[in-house]
């Protein structure tokens, strides 16, 4: 808890996709709030980024070991779980090679399901936990080439929703946060030559800032947000609520 984050956390937070731009920002904000953080990265370079920020972490290899690793390196089983993990695979539906499709399913759906299973089983032994899945507005409105990305995000939302339904009676709740345009990660690449046009189409005429999304994540991950359970929150400045004709970009 600090001036920028009024929320308190009763145990360690496990963050997957921790080495992404948003992941690093979230981990840092949690650490500044006094929360112990254990980050998971998918590459050695990602793990190095975590270490450079002073964040305890490990490579995501066998998801089933993640809770024990968290207990070893952050002092306890994860009490909070934020999932920002995602591969960079994008393709037109018909443009993906069969083997790549199988790899996508294993990485962007299977691995997430295994990690969520392992983390929530650990949470069950404490009868307490809060899970947040960081999704994308593209889950509902994919641009051409985002079908696999969107399908994986929808699968993730569905898994987290079911966790919230199945385990709420055991003190474990979950929700998803769909983010709109942000100038981080793949969003930065997309907005490279489109930022001004995208901002003009936003109801508030400005793009969301990464720090604003972190503030929302800090709240949604906290116990105070338990009532936002088995639900998906959209944070896109109202962009997706506008009529389709003014959403052309």
């Amino acid at each position: 808890m600090n001036a920028r984050n009024p929320h308190a956390y009763a145990g360690p937070a496990l963050v997957s996709g921790a080495s992404s731009e948003l992941g690093l920002l979230l981990c840092t904000a949690l650490l500044e709030s006094g929360c112990r953080v254990f980050g998971l990265a998918r590459s050695a370079a990602g793990l190095e980024r975590l270490r450079a920020k002073g964040i305890a972490g490990a490579l995501l290899r066998e998801p089933e070991t993640a809770p024990e690793l968290c207990a070893t390196l952050a002092g306890a089983y994860p009490r909070y779980f934020a999932d920002l993990g995602h591969s960079r695979f994008e393709s037109l539906v018909g443009g993906a090679a069969p083997a790549r499709i199988m790899e996508w399913a294993a990485q962007d759906i299977g691995l997430r399901a295994r990690l969520l299973r392992a983390v929530t089983r650990a949470m069950l032994t404490m009868r307490a936990g809060r899970c947040l899945f960081v999704s994308s507005a593209a889950a509902l409105h994919p641009a051409p080439g985002q079908a696999y990305y969107a399908a994986a995000k929808l699968a993730g939302e569905s898994l987290f929703k079911s966790v919230g339904l199945e385990l709420a009676s055991r003190g474990i709740t979950a929700c998803s946060l769909r983010l709109g345009f942000i100038e981080t990660g793949r969003g930065r690449e997309f907005l490279k030559n489109r930022a001004a046009r995208a901002a003009a189409l936003m109801p508030a005429k400005k793009l969301l800032q990464a720090d604003e999304t972190i503030q929302s994540m800090l709240f949604l991950l906290s116990d105070a947000a338990w009532g936002i359970n088995a639900a998906t929150v959209t944070m896109d400045g109202g962009f997706s609520a506008a009529k389709p004709e003014i959403r052309e970009i």
């Binding site: 089983r121 650990a122 069950l124 032994t125 055991r170």
Partner: protein, 129 residues
């Protein structure tokens, strides 16, 4: 860990889930008929076994979820031998009892606390091997 110690830990886990005194539970207690056990309780128990014994828990196996499927498979082809192969953690006597129970038309769910303790003891033994 001795078998009676394993049983004692399992009873304590189950007592915690159902908020009942551990001394009211024993190896013969039937999970689905003597206790108000639902699928989420088994999930919590599986997670608890994993943590308490530091063992990988196969929910399908420990809770005999496919018992009737296996019974159908082996109905005409050595039921007891088939069940013994599927459930190596159960004693011969317990396998025989399960086979007899499956023969009853209105057989209630057969899982007992002793089956779960046997699974944990077997997993610990395998881990030592």
């Amino acid at each position: 860990m001795r078998t009676d110690q394993t049983l004692s830990v399992v009873c304590a886990l189950i007592a915690g889930i159902f908020e009942c005194p551990p001394e009211t539970l024993n190896a013969r207690t039937r999970l689905m008929t003597d206790l108000p056990c639902e699928s989420i309780d088994l999930l919590e128990l599986g997670a608890g076994l994993n943590r308490a014994f530091r063992i990988d828990v196969d929910d399908e196996l420990v809770f005999l979820r496919s018992l009737r499927v296996h019974a159908e498979r082996f109905r005409h082809d050595g039921l007891e031998a088939g069940l013994a192969a599927e459930y190596p953690h159960l004693s011969r006597e317990r396998i025989r009892e399960l086979a007899e129970g499956l023969a009853l038309a209105d057989a209630a769910p057969l899982l007992r606390i002793g089956d779960i303790a046997a699974y944990a003891a077997h997993a610990l033994e395998q881990g030592r091997a």
